[in-house]
């Protein structure tokens, strides 16, 4: 974003996503938006609200209820020159389509030595914090980020959501765009009007600090920010880094911060074992261990399915209190 005064509007993240989709549909007639309930209804979260009325039922359309079919058909559309933007209703419903993702989505460019590529975007709400029924709150980003040839984007602000989504749609490769359900309407922010992009592969330094680096993304950014605010009166400077994209991963920003602070806390709401937080931790251990003054801490979900029990959901999902505890631990090591 340039220094010249770009007009902005205050909007929610879901409105920013809707704005981005409308701009993409307007700018490029090959863009097609489809999925379950995205047409007449405008999506269960209304992310595609009004798009079918504006751009027609050929470009914004409902599909049969079958996730493998949605992703698989989108792959064929992308091969044949369209820009498919598919919505999976919840990331926890993506699993029937995982064969399409793991076997094909990331492989076409590679298995045809560049003859074909897949400019496909798959949007999916993910994560907890809003008391959804079971299987609506999963965080499967590590599975996706472990798939070669697939990019993974997870915004945490309305402005980023719009700019990253427009960048994802322009991208020549397949991109998973995960949207934290918790943030859809709970956060509002200034969003520049018109078309702009936030480049994939660049992390954002949310708050600056000299004592400890907290690395997070999506729904965990506001949690980390709250922990950082709580630490400030105790004289602890917390540098919060929002990864924005897991693939490509901006390791340079992470490592530069950890080399400065000497302490790292990695936060995600996914299950603990083999999470993307583990990849971040390993990267720091490999590249910056000489700078560390304390062991790396992970604050994560647990190795159990995300709980459907409303009263104890917050035990599973990292809270500002748990992140603050980890900050105190690495400070006191």
């Amino acid at each position: 974003m340039t220094a010249t005064a770009t007009p902005t509007k205050t909007m929610t993240m879901v409105a920013a996503i809707n704005d981005a989709l409308a701009l993409a549909l307007e700018a490029d007639e090959t863009v097609h938006v489809f999925g379950e309930d995205v047409g007449v209804m405008g999506g269960v979260f209304r992310a595609t609200d009004g798009l079918q009325a504006r751009f027609g039922a050929e470009r914004v359309f409902d599909t049969p209820l079958a996730e493998a079919g949605i992703v698989g058909m989108g792959i064929g559309m992308g091969l044949a020159g369209l820009k498919p933007v598919a919505e999976i209703q919840f990331a926890g419903f993506l699993y029937p389509a995982l064969d399409q993702v793991l076997s094909h989505l990331g492989r076409y460019r590679h298995r045809t030595r560049g003859r074909y590529h897949l400019p496909m975007v798959i949007r999916a709400p993910y994560g907890g914090g809003v008391h959804t029924p079971e299987q609506h709150a999963d965080s499967p980003e590590a599975i996706l980020a472990h798939t070669p040839g697939v990019k993974v984007v997870i915004p945490s602000t309305p402005a980023d959501a719009k700019g990253l989504l427009l960048a994802a749609i322009q991208d020549p490769d397949p991109v998973f765009f995960l949207e934290a359900i918790k943030l859809y309407r709970s956060v509002k922010g200034e969003v520049p009007e018109g078309h702009y992009t936030v480049p994939l592969g660049q992390a954002r330094v949310v708050t600056q600090g000299d004592d400890v680096t907290v690395i997070c993304y999506g729904g965990m950014v506001e949690v980390a920010q709250k922990a950082a605010e709580a630490a400030r009166p105790h004289g602890i400077g917390v540098e919060v880094i929002d990864l924005r994209t897991l693939v490509p991963l901006d390791t340079e920003t992470v490592l530069a911060s950890v080399r400065k602070t000497g302490r790292a806390v990695v936060v995600s709401e996914a299950p603990r074992t083999n999470g993307f937080h583990s990849e971040i931790s390993a990267t720091i251990a490999e590249e910056a261990i000489d700078f560390l003054r304390a062991p790396i801490r992970r604050v994560t979900g647990f190795d159990a399915p995300y709980p459907p029990f409303t009263s104890v959901e917050d035990v599973y999902r990292p809270s500002p209190v748990r992140v603050a505890r980890a900050i105190r631990e690495v400070m006191g090591y």
Partner: protein, 364 residues
């Protein structure tokens, strides 16, 4: 490259029940519906395609035995099923082949040298030609069916008259992707032709163990699209039925499922031992259904082919193959760092570092 001819008159297909597959030539080469036969040039073209792909299949066996080809799934005996379907496409149409559909890809126009390179796992074989809409052979089962639906939908949205044609086996029709694709194709009325090559076996599992359904074409009924059973060893029948489905798709009529009833005479792959799961009795009768012999008898009887012309065709096919083999022999091996090529349009920082690592360790 194939060039579609004028479609012959569309014959009446039998429908419902466990009907006999649609047939134009009896196993002895007699025409059962003479008025419905494709024109003589088309019959000769189909014969030439079948001879050409059988030669490839036979030579592939020898090359594999001598270590000059990787694991190869043979299709010998299924030439009519592959040629009759692929030859019904035009140059702008898509072909989504399974691993057993080398013959279909060759018929659609995949060059022989490139096809050999593919089965040698050479990058030169994996870069599909720019001017031909053929995808690399799919290893997972049925997963390309939804892709064909998407490609067909894209052609429809772009306002072309191109269609997409995808293959599957009888085993593949048990997979969920098969059913989702047929349902999507029907619901969205896309120009897609689904070929279900029922060759009797999914590796060691016979169709009767695979499913209780006897007539797989009737699965189309559940999705509101036409399903046709055809004698998959009768290239003329297979061609006429597929041409009908392709024409219907081009004209906006939507998808069709075609079950070609054939037989996998050869093993699953050249590393397979079918004597562990099937007996000589299973194979009994299939040799006499040889699709090439059937059409050859017909063509000789009609005076469309002579022994001399057939011998000349043999020489031509052999020469083409040997020249292609020589070309494929000339392709260099990949460099180690090539394994990281074409992951993304632009390599990520991680891929750049991994390339530097390979180049340092492998000295490339």
């Amino acid at each position: 490259m194939t060039s579609p001819d004028t479609a012959p008159p569309t014959p009446t297909f039998p429908a419902g029940g466990e009907q006999e597959p649609f047939q134009l030539l009896a196993p002895d080469g007699t025409a059962t519906q003479p008025d419905a036969l494709p024109d003589p040039d088309t019959r000769l073209r189909l014969y030439r395609h079948m001879r050409r792909i059988r030669h490839f299949d036979e030579r592939a066996w020898v090359l594999y035995r001598t270590g000059r080809l990787g694991v190869f799934p043979p299709y010998g005996g299924m030439e009519a099923s592959q040629v009759g379907t692929a030859a019904a496409l035009g140059p702008g149409d898509w072909l989504f082949p399974t691993y057993r559909d080398t013959g279909a890809a060759l018929t659609h126009g995949l060059p022989v040298a490139q096809t050999l390179a593919y089965w040698r796992t050479s990058p030169h074989g994996w870069a599909m030609p720019q001017d031909l809409k053929v995808l690399p052979f799919y290893i997972p089962i049925a997963t390309q069916y939804p892709h064909a639906v998407g490609a067909a939908l894209a052609e429809k949205r772009k306002g072309t008259r191109n269609v997409a044609l995808a293959y599957i086996g009888d085993g593949g029709s048990s997979e969920g992707d098969f059913h989702e694709a047929l349902n999507f194709a029907g619901a969205l009325t896309v120009p897609c032709v689904f070929i279900l090559q029922n060759n009797g076996w999914a590796i060691s599992v016979p169709t009767r163990t695979q499913t209780r359904a006897v007539n797989l074409a009737r699965r189309a009924d559940g999705y509101g699209i036409p399903g046709v059973r055809v004698d998959g060893n009768d290239v003329l029948a297979t061609y006429v039925v597929t041409r009908g489905a392709v024409t219907r798709a081009r004209d906006g009529g939507g998808p069709t499922l075609i079950e070609t009833v054939t037989y996998r005479v050869k093993p699953h792959t050249l590393a397979d031992d079918p004597s562990r799961y099937r007996t000589d009795a299973d194979n009994l009768g299939w040799a006499e259904k040889d699709p090439i012999l059937r059409l050859r008898t017909h063509l000789l009887g009609e005076g469309l082919l002579t022994e001399d012309a057939d011998a000349a065709l043999t020489r031509e096919i052999e020469a083409e193959f040997e020249a292609a083999l020589k070309e494929a022999d000339g392709y260099p091996e990949p460099t180690p760092a090539e394994i990281l090529d074409h992951v993304f349009a632009e390599p990520t920082p991680q891929l750049r570092r991994q390339r530097a690592q390979i180049e340092a360790e492998e000295g490339t």
